[in-house]
Amino acid sequence: MLYDGGHYDVIVVGTGHAGCEAGLAAARMGAKTLMLTLNLDMIAFMPCNPSLGGPAKGIVVREVDALGGVMGKVIDNAHIQMRMLNTRKGPAVQALRAQADKPVYVQEMKQIIEQEENITLRQAMVNELIVEDGVCKGVVTETRAAYYADAVIVTTGTFMRGKVLMGDLEYESGPNNQRVSVKLSEHLEELGFQLTRFKTGTPPRVNGRTIDYSQTEIQPGDDKAQGFSFETEKYNTEQMPCWLTHTNANTHQIINDNLTQSAMYSGAKRGTGPRYCPSIEDKIVRFHDKPRHQVFLEPEGRKTEEYYVQGLSTSLPESLQHHIVRSVRGLENAEIMRPGYAIEYDALVPTQLWPTLETKKIPGLFTAGQINGTSGYEEAAAQGIMAGINAVQKIRGKEPFILDRSQAYIGVLIDDLVTKGTREPYRLLTSRAEYRLLLRHDNADLRLTELGFELGLINEERHEKFLEKKRLVEEEKDRLYKMIVKPTKEVQEMLTKVKGSPLKDAVRAYDLLKRPEVKYEHLESVIESNESLPQVVKEQVEIQIKYEGYIKKTYEQVGRMQKMEEKQIPENIDYDQISGIATEAKEKLKQVRPLSVGQASRISGVNPSDISILLVYIEHGKVAKLAN
């Protein structure tokens, strides 16, 4: 017998990084939201590395923040170190990375959710979905509660049929020895979803008291106040360092001698692991000529001695892990607190989703996060907020909220997933974004705040502040454009100082700032300065002016694709009726059901000639005829 748990607008299953953003977005848009978790003490838990951000991912955190998400705010309050990476490179690839204080992160997020008015937070195992007439209507828990809702967002991470592997030891488990979710996985299969088996891994953790830091290199954070959220004003500058050491010939010998004992090398057929997150076994086998690999020792928090041993992800037996760890310089006496392991889990083949993250098969059912074949906390959060938004948009009969590839890394992520699918756990890389120069960390607010405001996720006050910043940027650009800088002694001296060539004639301040060697601060020192201008505005002005030519070029590139993106493919198109499209392409098109020709052109296995034919058909209006 089931009992009636009540009716909600949105139910979120899981409270990892996807679930938290999904639930909060839905609730803040005014939806009555139920959030269910297997373990209340593990909300927004980081089962693997204790860091957030970095190239591409750091920009995603800012995008989530600009849309009104919480990840950026939470990490700003829960880190032990922050660093801006790639500072010597261009503005588009700079990104912030934080080392998280794991327990604090969990507490912060839990409290935010608890305090959210529209959210009911409850511990429960979801076993089934309620599907009526092919539409998702709610969920059923292990404790026999039936909860009803207009939209359900499943964010189960690596819990579905999770299996921990360590040498020849294997047992059913979620990450970090949590309960595994088996029934939901089976249920999704019964509903006709195609699942795939992925794998990921984590390294051992050691006790910091047993590390000989004198044998390692210190990796401090930046000596600078900075944060992810555009709203953060109080910065935590009390930082803890990380430490760098390396594997050596001895480490490699131990691993090579015992490869067959690795769960992943034992010959048994296993899920696909990510190339960008290889185990130490993988690294040694695939790049056997490398004499050493880096190992970073990262604290997991201020009130714990646990250290994450980044670089030693492994599925070798525990007994060997001791030897491997102790073969590394500085870790000779290190004590393992938790061994590393590999984990296998079920993921949904993401081409079964619309770009809104709603499943094509069952309307009302959304999925987000690692269940969709991604890896990474940031990728999960990005999908979470998008699923939350779209669930509410759908309930209210509003337009889907889809970001395109030139708007956000979030757009790149979701388009890649639903269009190309993925054969390994998907991680965002800057190289996946073709319009990288537009998708910068410094302009995430300029790109997305307005959208967040329209959705009701950004409040009036923040919006006003945002508009003010935008106005200041435009005014300052205008001021510099009108200002003429003459080749005075002062100017020439400044130019000599920055190793620039001297001015021959008077130029616009705007054009002087275009020179790569001339920073805003240099310019400011020789012109009438605008002292009241906030640093972020100066920075924005400099980037927009300095890279104007390149930004323009990127927009032209966007424009070239735009025509294809705008060419809609009718939803009821019957690809079987179009002869001339190759069989493989037909199968792919039928599976992905792209919404635009642009999206179709990104499907692997769909050739330019298939696209030409598709275009010919669409243009001749034959599609409509065939579909009728």
Partner: protein
């Protein structure tokens, strides 16, 4: 997928002993059969050829003696049913056959439509399709060779090589961005980047150089003969036509003086401007002035500028020198059989290091030197067409030019000291443009390269 049957004359008009009308589409065989007085073509095997007569459906008279090839889908060029009707050469017979098939229900094909169908039906890829287009238009044996080689994928092969080189460079920059802390990956430097982009830029430049020749091979070198009256322009034209095999034969109904003459001079096809044009150049400068005549002459790939050995240099001659300044030209001092009155020193001074050939066209002297000079001008003296890959297609040339420009932009950014990830925007653009030539723009290639080239991960 296409429902209409198309037809067109698929051999160059006026050339060769045989002309062919080709039909493609579902009704190709039926249409041909309706006109054919021989076997029932609906019953014959695919890929067979049949002799017979075409009967004009209106007059019921025998219209033409023909050979008909029947090729059924899908093993045909367009992957549709194809019929080829071989008729006698010349323009009359083939036009009549075309008219008959059009009256029987076929539609006149648009230029390149057969190829387009082949492409749309997945028969050939884009660069092949374009090579076929060129093949159709190929005017000389050499141009034919170029188009064939391209279809074999030699251009594709080269482009793929350049792309791979660029991809490795891009991957290197990417890995520095996405894994900034990995010390076992060497940091890509401005110097290294400059080296890599320069290398590919040079290779593209070379391709463009031969592309110029490819265009010439296909269309012929547009050649103008200029000079004052009575210096020997007509003799020069006649000599070139007589000495060399004329490519285009006279077509009935036309006269020699309004068609262009194609001659092949040591493998360089010349398209000599029509004789009327030559006549006008006699006083072109006088009539329209130096500036405007220059514009006319600039459309020529080569100018043969004839002077009279027997006369001193006139003001008109000097004006002509002014008009051809900076263009591709050869000075021909004709009439060496007569007394020299022309100052060679003066000519040399005006001729900007361009070749100067002395001839006596009447005595057939100096012609070989002239032909050699023509060949040298466009093949830099060394013709080795067998080993060259020509880019003979306007779209390819356009894309290559854009690719070269993108690499130039990249070098400019390097000089300015822009960060490498900014420079890389143009390098990636180059990679994409080259990809467009061979129809390959798959973006996963970069990610794959990244992980195979470097040991990455946490």
């Amino acid at each position: 997928m296409e429902i209409e049957t198309i037809a067109a004359i698929s051999t160059p008009i006026g050339e060769g002993a045989i002309s062919i009308v080709r039909l493609s589409g579902p009704e190709a065989v039926e249409i041909a059969n309706g006109l054919f007085g021989g076997k029932d073509l609906l019953q014959v095997d695919s890929h067979t050829i049949h002799y017979g007569k075409l009967i004009d459906p209106e007059t019921k008279e025998i219209a033409e003696e023909v050979m008909i090839s029947v090729m059924r889908a899908p093993k045909t060029f367009t992957r549709e049913d194809i019929v080829e009707i071989n008729t006698h050469g010349g323009i009359v017979a083939v036009n009549r056959v075309l008219e008959m098939v059009l009256e029987s229900g076929a539609r006149l094909a648009e230029p390149g439509e057969f190829t387009k169908r082949a492409f749309l039906n997945g028969r050939i890829d884009l660069s092949q399709a374009e090579a076929v287009m060129d093949l159709i238009r190929a005017k000389t044996d050499k141009a034919m060779g170029v188009a064939l080689r391209q279809m074999d994928g030699r251009l594709s092969h080269l482009i793929k090589k350049y792309r791979q080189e660029l991809l490795e460079t891009i991957a290197h920059v990417e890995v520095n961005i996405d894994y900034p802390e990995y010390d076992d990956v060497e940091e890509m430097s401005h110097t290294l980047m400059r080296e890599k982009t320069k290398k590919v830029a040079n290779e593209i430049e070379q391709l463009l150089q031969v592309a110029k020749q490819g265009k010439i091979l296909r269309e012929g070198l547009s050649t103008a003969i200029i000079g004052r009256p009575n210096v020997g322009k007509s003799s020069l034209m006649n000599t070139l036509v007589q000495e060399n095999k004329a490519i285009v034969t006279d077509v009935p109904g036309t006269t020699r003086d309004i068609i262009e003459e194609y001659v092949s001079v040591r493998g360089v096809p010349l398209r000599l401007v029509d004789t009327a044009g030559i006549r006008e150049t006699e006083d072109i400068v006088e009539k329209i002035g130096v500036e405007r005549s220059r514009k006319v002459l600039m459309e020529s790939d080569l100018i043969l500028f004839v002077l009279n050995n027997n006369e001193v240099l006139t003001e008109d001659d000097k004006n002509l020198f002014e008009a051809v300044k900076g263009l591709e030209y050869i000075v021909i001092i004709n009439k060496t059989d007569l007394n020299q009155k022309l100052s060679l020193a003066e000519v040399k001074k005006l001729a900007e290091n361009k070749p100067i050939i002395t001839t006596s066209l009447i005595q057939e002297e100096g012609i070989e030197e002239l032909e050699k000079a023509i060949a040298d001008t466009f093949f830099a003296g060394d013709i080795d067409t067998g080993d060259m890959t020509y880019v003979s297609n306007a779209r390819h040339i356009q894309l290559l030019k854009q690719a070269k420009q993108a690499l130039l932009d990249a070098s400019r950014s390097l000089e300015l000291g822009m960060p490498l990830d900014i420079v890389q925007i143009d390098v990636t653009r180059t990679w994409e443009l080259l990809g467009e030539i061979i129809g390959d723009t798959a973006s996963d290639a970069l990610i794959d390269q990244l992980f195979s080239q470097f040991c990455l991960g946490k």
